[in-house]
Every structure is written in C-alpha cells, then in structure tokens.
C-alpha cells in the first residue's frame, strides 16, 4: 500500500538526468515527496516559501527559458491560491509548467475541508490547453511523471495522501489521454479516478456476489479524456456510474457526461462524489462513508443505473 504521492518522488528522480528539469515547492516538499529530488539535486530545487502564486509564476519564467519546471504543493493551496497565475502566466502563456497537487479530496482526512481539495479537477479542466491527470496508485503516478516530462505544455496532476492497493506494476504503459480498464463487466461501468478506482473495485466485487457484473475503468487522464473508451463502455453496458473524490460539479462525472452529450448519448450518468457540501475532519474511510463515496455507495449507484436501464428497455 502506497499513496500516489510516493510515485511523484520516484518519478522526479527518474527524469532528473535532464538538467533542464527543475522542481519548486511551497514548503510542503516533505508531504508532496518532491524533497527526494531536492535532497539529490539541491541546485535545481527551489523552496519558494509559503507563496504559491509566486511559485507558479516563477515556474512560468523558468519555462520561458527552456527549463522544465514541476511545481508542487497541496492541491488546495496550489489550485486555489494561484488560480489566476495558472490562468494567465501558465495556460494563456502556453508555458511548459507541470503543476502537481497532493492531498486531494476527502482522503486527506483529519485536516478538514480547508485541505480536502474537492474543486481542482473542475477548475483545472476549465482552463484552455490544460492537461489534467489523476493517477490511481503510486506506480501510475510515477509513470505519469515521465509522461508529463515528455509532454510539452501546461499540465496539472492530482495526487492523494491516502495509501491505496497497488493496481499497476512497472510494465504499466501510461499515456496521457488514455483510459485503462481495470475490471471487465457487462452490466454496468464505473468510470473512476484516483483513490476511487480501488474503492470502485471493492464495489464491483460486492456487486458480483449479487450477480451484477460492473466494469471498472480508470480515467487517469481527465483531460484529454479517452472518448472512445468512454463511449465503448457506455454503449456496451448502458449503465454508467462515475466515481471521484471531488465535487460532483465539474469533475470526472461532468467530463464523462460531456463525452456522452457530444455523442448524443441518452444514457444517464449516476455520479458518486461530494454532493455540493463541505465535509469535515475524520478518517478517510469514515468520511467516504458519511459523504457518499464508500464502496457501498458506489454499489448503490450501480444498482440505480442498472435499474434505470431496465426501465428504458
């Protein structure tokens, strides 16, 4: 069991041979794991103090000179304190800055709603030209760092503090814009991201005991999204659930709905996520249970989707 952030630290070390890779952090390098890079390459690691706006724009300036900056902090501070800086200095300026936010979602737990970032997928995917990744485990995160390094342009990667079971091994071939089927099933599909991929797998196991076969698809690249995979599984199962540790407004669920709408699909989407409320302090498992993100809630959403399908037939 490792958290996705652990893969960030390892991924940075894998791309460090390129002297143009530089890393910035806003005094959370121990938590985001960028410190591993900082300890090994102190000349290319910049502590920016507790000042996310300055950090993002400094990264933009470095990128204008051909540097390949990765700037990390907690998802909440990075995406909320520096939104205008990300908008103007990074995205509008089309600069090659990689923004990495850890401790996303209710999985952050006891620190409470200030730190439980639930709007970052919505805000980041609304930015023109922005790539948005939400890897599901530490290995996929490590591979995503390498993919981000190869991609030239603005990008945001969302990570979690919570350890999750390993889904991938070193043979995993991560690509931006590609989704990954982690479990097959013909009755319904759960499109999930981040920590919710493993929660959705647990839900699918429960459902199988009740005779419902739910596929689980890891949408680790929210933007660009794997449209053909979304359409394939939506049309194959005709019962669609989305599952994210994020507000149900503007996140993965909305991204999946957008794909279906663009293709004139009439299949309804059952969204599992945080329902337009601020949560509270608590253990991640307790929060997932209280705020509707647990495997039981996901399973219930699948049953609703399957029930609606029966009504349509």
């Amino acid at each position: 069991m490792e958290a996705s952030r652990d893969g960030y630290g390892r991924g940075l070390l894998k791309i460090a041979d390129d002297r143009d890779v530089v890393v910035l952090d806003a005094d959370l390098q121990d938590s985001t794991r960028s410190l591993q890079f900082g300890e090994k390459y102190p000349d290319r690691f910049f502590t920016m103090g507790i000042a996310e706006a300055d950090m993002v724009c400094t990264g933009a300036g470095l990128a204008t000179c051909g540097k390949k900056p990765f700037a990390s902090s907690f998802a909440c501070f990075l995406t909320r304190n520096a939104y205008d800086q990300i908008f103007v200095s990074v995205c509008y300026s089309k600069l090659n800055v990689k923004l990495v936010g850890s401790h996303a979602g209710l999985a952050t737990g006891e620190d409470g709603p200030t730190a439980q970032e639930i709007t970052d997928i919505a805000t980041m995917r609304a930015l023109p030209g922005m790539v948005v990744l939400v890897p599901a485990d530490s290995v996929q995160t490590e591979k995503a760092v390498e993919a981000l390094y190869r991609h030239i342009g603005p990008a945001y990667m969302r990570m979690s503090r919570a350890p999750v079971p390993a889904l991938y091994d070193d043979s995993h071939n991560f690509e931006i814009g590609r989704g990954y089927v982690v479990r097959e099933g013909a009755d319904a599909v759960i499109f999930a991201c981040g920590t919710m991929v493993s929660e959705s797998l647990k839900a699918a196991e429960q459902l199988e005991k009740e005779g419902i076969r739910a596929a689980v698809v890891n949408i680790s690249s929210i933007k660009p999204i794997d449209k053909s995979l979304v359409l394939e599984y939506a049309s194959k199962t005709r019962a669609v659930v989305t599952s994210e540790d994020h507000s149900i407004i503007g996140g993965l669920g909305s991204a999946v709905q957008d794909v279906l709408n663009e293709n004139d699909s009439l299949i309804p989407v059952q969204k599992v996520g945080v329902k337009d409320v601020f949560a509270e302090s608590g253990k991640p498992g307790e929060l997932y249970e209280k705020y509707g993100l647990s495997p039981g809630h996901i399973a219930a959403a699948v049953k609703r989707a399957v029930g609606k399908k029966a009504l349509r037939q």
Partner: protein, 277 residues
C-alpha cells in the same frame, strides 16, 4: 552576430519617447479604447530600455542570450507595442490592428506578439515571472539581465512582495525592476486609495538595491541602469517618478485617462502638444 546593443544619445532617446507617445495616442484613438495615461508615463522608461539598455535581436526574438523583458503593467500596451514596432519586432503597420479581431496586438500584452515571452495584464505576476527567467539564467550561466516594468498601483498586489522576497532570497542580481511611479491608479491617487509609500524603503527592507530618478529624464534613467548593472549580489529596483498622461495637458495627472481613448478632437490637440514637447 551583430549584437543589437544601441548606444544612443539622449536626444535620440527623447525622440524615441516622443514617437512612443504619438503612436500610443494614435493607437488608443483608433482602437477606441486602451490605456493612454500609463503609456505616456512610461515612454522614457521604454525608450531607454528598448533603444539603449537591453540586448536583443528583434529579427531573432528567441535569441537565448537576450536580455529578458516583462511588461508587468500589461495594460500599457500602446507604449509597449509602439516601442517594439520601432525596435523592429514587427512592422509599424501592425499598430493599426491594435485591439482588433485577429490582431497579434492584444489589449493586454501577450505571447502572440513576437518578442513577448509571457502574457500579462493581471497585475502582480510579472516580477515573479522575471525571477524565474533570472533563475534560469543563473542555472545556465547566461549573462543576460531581466527587466520588469511594474506600475505603482500594481505594488498593492501582495504577490509583488512575495516576488521581492524571492528575488532577494535567491540573490537575483540579474533582476532589474522598474516602477512607473506616476502616483495614480484607475480611481485616483495611490496614496489616497491604498498607500504604498515608502516604496524605496520597502524594497530596501526586502534586500534590494534601490534608486529613485525622474522617470522622464532619459539621462537619469541611463545613469540608474548603469549603476544597477554594477551592483552584485542583490536585485535592483529603479523607482521612476513620472507623470501619468505626461505630455498631454488635459491628461496629465488625471486618473480618468488611465483607461479611455481620446476622441478625434482630443487626439488632434494631444498630438500637437506631444510634437511641441
């Protein structure tokens, strides 16, 4: 390579400043919008930077060793584009497209204009961007300097002081900030709306080398930049005391000319006054 370092006389620099003013007024009038006040106050600053101070090659705007420039007061595009066209980054004819659909010359400075590396227009961000350029120069052992022009009202943005702190922390002696201290912001005097003085003492307290000059005196500006280039180990700021709307009697020190265009009648008078400067 023919290095585009221009050693101009004060007379030539004043002539470029006059051209910047004339073009700024014409552009704002043609566009029917824009920011003449802060363009006229920055005319000598931009003249000295583009025609004397900065090393660049307008025909090769991505030249890796060029001095970097960030127009953090990104609304003063009439003056900026006038200076850049004069410097040869794009044809002067393009100035007629300012603020129009399909133009490379956006209302606020953007990467769509050859020679501009970063979009600005949301005040407070440019100094941080300049710091990043300066850090890259240090990492690569490049000799370039980074010039960042800020407005004085802009100093009310907290991020400016984050950046002031970072530049000093990383000893970015290749950063030269210029504050266009015209004393006015959109709704009136800076000191009435949100006091920013003492500006020099603030930068000094953050660890910067400071100098204060008459921002309409090209010789004083040149001297300040020459001095700044000799200071090592810390960032430098030149506080240029200016007059908003400088050169046009009915615009001088009138904050409402921050963001509105002269009509035909006003343009005629304004051009005549600038010609007579």
């Amino acid at each position: 390579m023919d290095l585009p370092v221009n050693m101009r006389t004060p007379e030539e620099l004043r002539a470029f400043a006059k051209e910047i003013r004339l073009q700024s007024l014409l552009m704002a009038n043609r566009a029917g919008s824009g920011h003449p006040g802060g363009s006229l106050s920055a005319a000598e600053i931009l003249s000295v930077l583009f025609f004397r101070q900065m090393k660049f090659d307008a025909k090769n705007p991505k030249w890796p060793d060029r001095d970097r420039f960030v127009m953090s007061k990104g609304h003063a595009t009439p003056a900026l584009y006038a200076a850049m066209a004069e410097a040869g980054f794009f044809p002067k004819e393009d100035l007629k497209t300012y603020r129009q659909l399909n133009s490379r010359l956006q209302g606020h400075s953007s990467i769509y204009t050859p020679g501009i590396d970063v979009c600005t227009g949301s005040l407070g961000q440019g100094l941080s961007v300049g710091n990043g350029m300066a850090l890259a120069g240090k990492l690569d052992g490049k000799p370039y300097d980074v010039y960042v022009v800020m407005g004085d009202g802009e100093l009310q943005e907290g991020q400016v002081w984050e950046a002031a702190r970072s530049a000093a922390h990383y000893r970015l002696d290749n950063v030269i900030a210029i504050v266009d201290r015209n004393g006015l912001q959109q709704n009136g005097p800076t000191e009435k709306l949100m006091r920013i003085e003492p500006v020099a003492e603030k930068f000094a307290a953050f660890g910067w080398h400071t100098s204060e000059v008459d921002g309409h005196d090209v010789q004083e500006l040149c001297n300040a930049f020459d001095l700044a280039l000799t200071i090592r180990g810390r960032p430098k700021v030149v506080i240029a005391r200016t007059v908003k709307g400088k050169g046009v009697s009915f615009m001088e020190n009138v904050s409402s000319w921050h963001g509105k265009a002269p009509n035909a009648e006003q343009l005629r008078q304004a051009l005549a006054e600038v010609e007579a400067m």
